[in-house]
Amino acid sequence: MTELLRILQLARKDFSYFFRTKWLMAILLSLNLSDMLVVALVYGKLMDFNYFRFFVPAVVIMGLFVASLDTGRRIWLAIREGMIHYYLSLPISTEGIVAAYLLAGGLAAMVYSSSLLLIALVVLPAHAVWSTFVLLPFLFVLATGLAGIAATLAALASTHGEFFFAYQQIVQVVLLTLSTVFYPIDVVRLYLPPFLVKIVSLNPLSLAAEAMRQYTFAGAPVEPWSLIMLLLTSIPLAIIGALAYLTALHSIQVKGKL
C-alpha cells in the first residue's frame, strides 16, 4: 500500500511537470490546434472528399502520441541532470519508479488529448459521444505504450541529448507517416507495397485514429475486436519501454552512470 502511494506521489510530480513546461504547452497547442482548425480545413478545399471530418479526430490521437513521447524527454532530463540518483535514493523500488513514469506519461497524454477532443467535439458534430468513454481506457493503454517507446529512446540515448531528440524525431515521423492518421487505408493500399500496408494497418496510431473516427464521430457501433487489437499492439510497447528503463536504472544503480 505504501509503495502504491509513493508511486502515485512520484507520478503526480511528473504529471504536473508536464503541464508546467510553458514552451512545451505552446508547441503542442499551437501545432495541434492549427492542424485541426487550419490544415484540415484548407486541405479539405483541395480534395474531393471531406478531409476535415477525416483529419480532425486523428489530430486528437496525434496529440495523445506527442504528449506521450514527452515522457522520454523527462526521463532523459532526469538521467542527464542527475535527478535519477535522487529518485533511486527514495524509499521506492526501481520498478515503482518505472511504473510512476509510465503512469504519469499515460495520464498526461490522456488529459492533454481530452482537451483536444473537447475542441474537436465543438468543431465537428459527433454522433456517439458516449463511445468515447468506452475508448478512453484503451487510449490510456495506448498512451502508456507510447510512453514506453519514449522511455526506451531515453534509455538508449543515455546523456546524449542530440541522440535522444534525433531518435524521437525519427520515431515520430515513421510512426505518423506509416499510419492512417493523414490518409485513408485505401490510398495507402494503392501506393505502398503489401508489407508496408500491413505495418500501416497494425500501427496502433492507425487503430486508434480509426476507432475515434468511426465510434465517436461517425457513430458506428463499437467493435470489441478493434479494441482488442489496440490493446495487443500497445501493451508490448509498454512492456518493452518498462524493461528498457528498468535496465537503465539497474545500470545506474550498479555503475553510477549509464
Binding site: W23, S30, Y183
Partner: protein, 253 residues
C-alpha cells in the same frame, strides 16, 4: 577574416561531430516526401502534382526551422552567459555578428543540400539561373527568420522560458498560416489575411515561381521579392540594434 572563420567553426563543429541532425533532417525529408507527399498527392485534386508542390514547401519549412534555430540558439546562449565570453574576444561587434550569420548560412547550406537536390531532380527541366535564384531566395528567407528571432530577443532577457514558448509557438502558426502546404487561392479569406503576414508565404511562392510552378496559383513575384528583401535587411538590422542595446547597454563603435 580568419577570426570570423575560427568562431564559425567553433560552433559548427559541435553540430558536425557527429552530424546527426543533418542526417536526421535528410532522412525526415526523404520519408516525408516519399510517403506523406506521395500519398497526399493521390488525394489532392486542386493542384496537378502536389508532391512537387509539397517538396518545395518542405524545403522552405526546413529553411525556416534552421533560421529560427540560429537566432534562438544565439539568444539562448546569451541568456546562459556565453555572450560575455564572446564579447570579451578581441574581435569587433560587426565581425561577431558576421560569424553568427555565416554559421547560420553554413548550417542552412549543409542541411538543405540533399533535400533541395532531391526536389530539383523531382521537378526536373530547370535552368542554372532558376536554381541559383531559388537558392538565393532560401538564404534571404533564412537570414530574415534568424533576424526575427534575434529581434524577439528582448523577451529572453526577461524570461528565457517565455521566449522559447513564444518563438516555438509562433513558428508553427507561421508555417500553418502560409502557402507552404497549400496555394494562396485555396485559403479562406480570414486565413488569407494571416498568410499575408507570414514571411513563408513570400519565400515559398517566390521559390516556386523560379522553379517554374504555375504562376496563377502564386503571389506576385515582384511583391514577394520586395517583402523578403525588406524582411532580411530590416530584421537583421533590428536584431543587431536590439542586441547591442540590450546586451551591452550602449551602442558599440
Amino acid at each position: 577574416m580568419r577570426n570570423v572563420i575560427r568562431l564559425v567553426w567553433f560552433d559548427l563543429k559541435q553540430e558536425l561531430r557527429p552530424p546527426i541532425w543533418i542526417i536526421m533532417e535528410w532522412v525526415t525529408f526523404t520519408i516525408q516526401l516519399g510517403i506523406y507527399g506521395a500519398l497526399m498527392s493521390q488525394l489532392v485534386t486542386g493542384i496537378s502534382n502536389y508532391q512537387q508542390f509539397y517538396a518545395i514547401g518542405f524545403v522552405v519549412m526546413m529553411t525556416f526551422d534552421i533560421g529560427a534555430h540560429t537566432g534562438r540558439h544565439f539568444v539562448e546562449h546569451a541568456h546562459e552567459g556565453r555572450l560575455p565570453y564572446l564579447l570579451s574576444l578581441p574581435i569587433s561587434r560587426s565581425k561577431l555578428f558576421l560569424s553568427i550569420a555565416l554559421q547560420g548560412g553554413t548550417e542552412l547550406a549543409l542541411m538543405l543540400s540533399v533535400p533541395l537536390a532531391i526536389s530539383l531532380v523531382l521537378i526536373g527541366n530547370l535552368s542554372a539561373i532558376s536554381v541559383a535564384a531559388a537558392i538565393a531566395t532560401l538564404f534571404c528567407l533564412g537570414f530574415g527568420v534568424a533576424g526575427v528571432m534575434l529581434g524577439l530577443s528582448f523577451i529572453a532577457f526577461k524570461s528565457a522560458d517565455l521566449y522559447t514558448a513564444i518563438t516555438v509557438g509562433l513558428s508553427s502558426i507561421i508555417v500553418r498560416f502560409s502557402t507552404v502546404l497549400y496555394p494562396f487561392i485555396f485559403l479562406p479569406p480570414n486565413y488569407a489575411v494571416a498568410a499575408f503576414l507570414s514571411p513563408l508565404t513570400y519565400g515559398a511562392d517566390l521559390v516556386r515561381f523560379f522553379l517554374g510552378f504555375d504562376p496563377s496559383i502564386l503571389l506576385n513575384p515582384t511583391y514577394a521579392a520586395a517583402v523578403l528583401t525588406a524582411l532580411a535587411v530590416g530584421t537583421l538590422g533590428l536584431g543587431m540594434f536590439l542586441l547591442q542595446r540590450l546586451v551591452e547597454g550602449v551602442k558599440s563603435a
